[in-house]
Structures are given as C-alpha cells and as structure tokens.
Symmetry: C2
Subunit: 406 residues, 2 copies
C-alpha cells in the first residue's frame, strides 16, 4: 500500500509553485515556475535513489533499477504544466503518484524484475504552446523533433528556445526505446465517477480531437460613421462562428463537445470595427467519423459567414488526435488492481487527451482515473480527496508491479 | 487663402511620428509618441509667435494675440492622438488647420480684433482611455478633473499618471474661461460627402452615443470533459450578445449604428471554457429617444443571454454623449465661408463624436467636414486630398476671422 499522506503532502508542496489566489495553479509550460516544479520533482526522485535522464524535448525520466536492468522499464507519468487557471491535480497527480510508487517500493525494499520509471512530459496542456501532448507526441514519433522545438506561444517564443532557457533541453534522444508498459494515473476531469460513486475509472480509450486556428479578416473602420451595410466586421463574423460551433455539438449530441477557448481581437479599440479576429476551435467526439463530419461543418459555416459578411478566411487544422483504445492487457491490469483492492470502479472513455494516448502508439498502455469534485478541471477550484488519490495510486502500484514481474 | 502645400507638409511631418507599416499612424494618447507629436506642434506654434498654455488635463492652447487681447479668443482645434490602427488625418487635420490659419494670418500681417487660439485636446479617441473626448469634456464641465485624471487604460495606468510622465500635466485650470467661438475642422470619416461630390460638410450637429462595458462571468472548465449542458461558457454568451448588438442596429435602421470593438477573453486557453469575457458596446443614434430604446434592448438581451446560459452579468453604461446641435450662427459662418469660396457643400450630421461637441456646451461652436477616401477612417488607409484639406482650412480661416471681428 502506498502512503496516501505522503502523496498528498507532495501534491500540496508542488502546488505552492505557481499557486493562484483562488487556490489553483498557473504553471505554464517552460516558464520559470515550470522549471521550479521540475527541479522539485527531480530532487525528490534523486532522494528516492533514482537516476534522472532528460531528453531533447525536456521529458524527464526518473529510473528505479530492476533486478534485470536491461529489461525495458514499466513506466508511469504525466505532466507538471498547468492551464492559466489550472488546478493542483491535473497532471501533477500522475507524476507524483509515480514518485509515490517508487517511494513505496523503497519502503518495502521490493525489487521488481523490470526497472520502474516515473516520467514528466513537456507541455501536455497545449495552453501556452499548441497542440497538447506535444512532447509525448514527439516521443511516440507522431511529430518530429523540429516540429516540437518550433511550437511557438502567442508572443512567438518557441519551445526549443524556452527549453534551452530553463535548462531542460536534455541530451537524450526523444523516444526510440522500448517501454514494457505505460500507466498514467489522472483525475477524471469530468463528472461521471463522482455521480456514480465509483472510486476508480478503468480507462478503455480516449475520444478524438481536432483543433483549428481561424483568422477572419475584415476592415477596420469607424464605429460611428460607417453605415452598417458597409462594414466588414471580423468580430461579428467570429461571433457567428462561435455560436455555430456550439450548434455543432448539439447536432452531434450526446457525445460531441465543441469549444472556442481562445480569441484575440484586433485592433481591439472600442470605437473601431474589428479588422481581424483570431480564434481557436476544439472539436471532440469518441467516433472518428462523426468527428470528421463536425470538422466539415465547421469549415462550411466559416466559409458561409465569411462570404456573407465580406470577410477573408484563413482556416487551418493544426491538430488531429484520433480516438484511441488502450491495450487490452493494461486495461485488464488496471481493472484487476481495482478489483483486488475492492474499489468501486467502472470502464470509462477519456474526454481529455493525455500523454498516455500518444505513448499507447509505442507501448502497451493503460490509464487510471479517480473522481474530482463536481467533475471540474481546468479551473482553480479543481479538487479531489486524499482517499481517492491514494486509491488510484494503489491501483497504479498494483498494475505496475504486476507488469514489472517476469 | 491658406497655404495648402504648407498644411499638407505639416500633416506629413506629423504623420512620421508613430507611422505604421501600412501607411497609417499609431499614436495612442499620452504615450511617448503622443508627447513627440505635442512637442512638434508646440515648437511650430512658438515659431509662429504664439504663446503656449497647457492645462491640468494636458490640453494645449497656442495663442495669437488680438488687437484687444482681453477679448475671449476665437478658438479652433482637435486632437493629435490616434486609434491603434489610425490614419494621418483624423484629429491631426483639425489641429494643423488651426496652425495653418495662424501662419496665414502671419503671412498677411492680419491683426484680428479677438485673439486666435489653436488647441489640442487630450485623448479624444477614447481608445487607450475610455470614454472619448475626455479632456474637452472636463473643459466643458461635463466631467470633473478627478474623473479625467483617474481614467485608466487596460493595464491600469491612469491619465493623471501618464500626463505627469510625459510632462504634459500643465498648471492652467481646466475650462472656466470664455471662448468667443469654437470651430473644428475634421475629415468626415464617412462616405456621404465623397458620394455626393461635396467639398465641404456644414456640420449642424452630432448623433448621440452610449458606451457600455459588459463583463460576463461563467466558469472555467475542461473543453474535453465538460458536457455541453454543464457549461457556463462566457464567450458563447458574449458572442450571442455581439450578434444581438448587430440586430439592434438593423431594428433601428437606417440611422442607428452599433459596434463591439473590444473584447478580452479569460483565461484565453484553447482547451479551457472561457470563464470571463469583457467587452465594450458602442451604440449611436441621432435621435435621443431611439438611442435610449437601443440601450434598453442591449440590457434586455444581456440579461436574457446570461439567464439562459447561467452567466453572471455586470453591465455598466460608462458614457452617454447626447445628440447635439451646433450654434446656429457658427453653422451659418461655416456655410457662409463655403459659399463665399464657391465650394460645393451640404449640411451634415456627424456620426463621430468630436471635441467640438463638448465645447459646444460652453461656447458657440461649429464644425467643418471635408471628404475622406471611401469614407474610411479609424483605418491605416485613411486618406484625403490636399485640395479638400486646403478648402476646409480656407473655410475655417473665413469663419474664424469673421467671428474674431468686432
Ligand atoms: N488532461 C488534459 O487536460 N489534457 C489537455 C489536453 C486536452 O485538452 O485534452
Ligand atoms: N472623431 C473621432 O473619431 N472621435 C472618436 C470618438 C468617436 O468614436 O466618435
């Protein structure tokens, strides 16, 4: 059994880095705060006797040797970066649950056959740098290194530069090595487990996502003197698309979700008609075909609005992460862990993307969900109970030890 | 007759300060560039023999003495600040036309009975600091000094601080002195004069404006895991209001214009449902009653959307500038000037607010419009011909001399 108090204390310690007034965290990828969080994790892992490796995308691997250290490791991990108004658990839990597994194995002097690794993946959130899960994506060969390093934030700073700046551009090649099995523990980030009073979600897969960047260009003009019929108002056009994006989710209910989370208006002056609006669209569906149809509708509505309102359209799909199914044996190992510990559990599909989704392309992979309060995540009030977090960590321990045994 | 070439050259010289790549100007109120523009104007006026006074709102008065210097001055003027994507003529023309009148009087050694003053009014645009025409408003007693100094930009910097910083917080009290008559020359900023091939617009009044600040607050939440029916999406709500604001203009056609020019989304992350959106609404109508009805509809639609979407609403009217009519004698002086010079002219109502609107509360006031290309303003491509600008300046000269004569 893991030490639930120690896990909780570590979570609370990490949450001090980038703590926000409302009790959440703002620790954007590759900022000074992200470096602080990484340093803390690395120190803890060293204290636990691990060796540390950092790859060229800044992914961190803390290794506890196995009896046969030539065997590929059983790995766990998640991310330390957060949303701008993020919580204390999203990602961090999966990282520190990995550390807690290692500490527990140390406590009981357990030697596993295969090595155990706890990992941190760079820029999972996709908030500062789009898309999400970039660095697990490079690890899995979905993106090349050049693509990873060239992702830029809204100020034009790239991941490559920022990795260098905070000292986490490691020397290890990214990916290309074997993993015996990968498990990621995470809060559910949705309302299902809590509503059904389940302690453990046995994650069988994740829905697909398509991300778009849209720029609509009209013409700046005077708000007081320009007749309505002579306007090319980019914000009016963008607003029509925002409501249409919402309609797409309704049409593909009940499983589709659609969001416009980011919008920038230019020149952003009260009495000037907006000449350009940039916004991002996030479409999701567990069914790949429906997801494609949603994307086609987005394109259609953008074209229609721009044609009607005299706007120029630049619509780019910047990310496609297809629906995935996790490895049947890993899913079974998670379910088995939950059953052996007598935790109420159910199978569940992840609404969010996770590093495990990309790792699943190169290694047998499974995920463990625990409930979070009111199903709320990407919000400073994000919360989970010490008991549920310990439960998920115990399932992780079980699953990892099982898979690390010859 | 004024020297049209000299006027044009001065306009082009001023346009170098804050010149943008697309040929426009970005010289926001009380920035270093605004200071540079003010310094240039002050130097030119000193070279023309004027004495300079600056009041506590940074309004600048360049005075050419009259035969009887105890008489209240005949004043002209406008503003040097621009929109973020502004043009070379909006405001600047009215300021430099005043200088050109003084230079012309010097050329011909004309002594007027009353003194002549050319003025610059601080933050007319209302872009960096809302509302528009703040400092002519303080001069006219519409706002008090404390209100003027406390206007803040989106970064929280106040006009008082910024006036101090750039050295234009003068010592003169704001307003409270007599003006014999005030005239402002300006580009039309709309399409009417050009379409009707008129050189001069005899401005009889200006439409009313109401400005609002709206904050809609929902709840940040995960874009992938939050079911559509559990969302409180502040950007979706704001988008509905943007399209409804456009509908209000349609309903009150043909004279109403409505604009959402500024919007800020928080936390502005692609995969987080926006928890808060701040935006500004600009409603205009030449009829005061219709303008009030439009404001009531805005309030209604904001309340309806927020009730439906589970959002909190904070709706503030931050500015009301009622429709105004200019002084009959000043309007006649402008029309007379256009007629005596044989310029094609028509009466016109201003769609924009101008410093003259506030000055009209404390002095007999008139305005002169000249055409601008395609009716476009608040855009870097804003343009006007040297001939039209000289024509407007000649009308200004005529009107000012007529009113400066006992
Ligand atoms: N787990 C998580 O919040 N990942 C961010 C990527 C996504 O939006 O699905
Ligand atoms: N003339 C001008 O553009 N003034 C700004 C205030 C307004 O938007 O009417």
């Amino acid at each position: 059994r893991v030490n639930g108090d120690r896990l909780w204390d570590s979570l609370m310690e990490m949450a001090k880095i980038g703590a926000t007034e409302k009790g959440g965290n703002c620790r954007l990828a590759l900022t000074d705060l992200d470096k602080e969080g990484r340093d803390l994790f690395v120190n803890w892992c060293k204290e636990a006797g691990c060796t540390i490796k950092v790859d060229q995308m800044g992914n961190i691997f803390a290794r506890r040797p196995g009896k046969d250290d030539r065997l590929p490791p059983v790995m766990t991990g998640s991310h330390l970066d957060t949303q701008p108004t993020g919580g204390k658990f999203d990602g961090v839990y999966g990282v520190l649950a990995g550390l807690e597994v290692i500490r527990t194995l140390n406590d009981f002097n357990i030697e596993t056959d295969a090595p155990i690794e706890a990992s941190v993946w760079t820029n999972e959130e996709g908030s500062r740098f789009a898309p999400a899960m970039v660095s697990s994506g490079v690890f899995a060969g979905v993106f090349d290194l050049e693509y990873g390093h060239s992702r830029a934030d809204l100020d034009g700073k790239t991941m490559g530069e920022e990795l260098e700046r905070i000292g986490y551009k490691g020397s290890e090649p990214v990916g290309g090595r074997k993993i015996r099995a990968f498990f990621e523990a995470h809060i559910e980030q949705g309302p299902i487990l809590e509503a059904e009073e389940k302690t453990i979600g046995v994650v069988t897969g994740a829905q697909g996502q398509r991300w778009f960047e849209v720029t609509m260009t009209g013409a700046e003009s005077h708000a007081g003197t320009t007749p309505m019929n002579r306007r090319k108002d980019a914000l009016l056009g963008a607003s029509k698309v925002v409501t249409a994006v919402n309609d797409i989710a309704m049409k593909y209910a009940p499983n589709a979700v659609t969001t416009v989370g980011l919008m920038q208006v230019s020149p952003n002056s009260r009495n000037t008609i907006p000449g350009e609006v940039f916004f991002a669209v996030d479409l999701r569906n567990p069914e790949d075909e429906a997801l494609s149809a949603m994307a086609a509708e987005l394109k259609e509505v953008c074209e229609k609005v721009c044609a009607e309102d005299g706007l120029e359209l630049d619509l780019k799909e910047i990310w496609y992460s297809p629906p995935i199914a996790f490895d049947a044996d890993c899913v079974k190992a998670v379910r088995g862990g939950a059953e052996s510990e007598n935790f109420a559990h159910r199978d569940i599909i992840s609404g969010a993307g996770h590093d495990a989704c990309y790792i699943s392309r190169v290694a047998p992979t499974g995920m463990i969900f625990v409930p979070c309060e009111d199903g709320i995540s990407h919000n400073e009030v994000e919360n989970a109970t010490p008991e549920d977090l310990a439960a998920g960590c115990n399932v992780l321990l079980q699953a990892m030890v099982a898979r690390a045994t010859l």
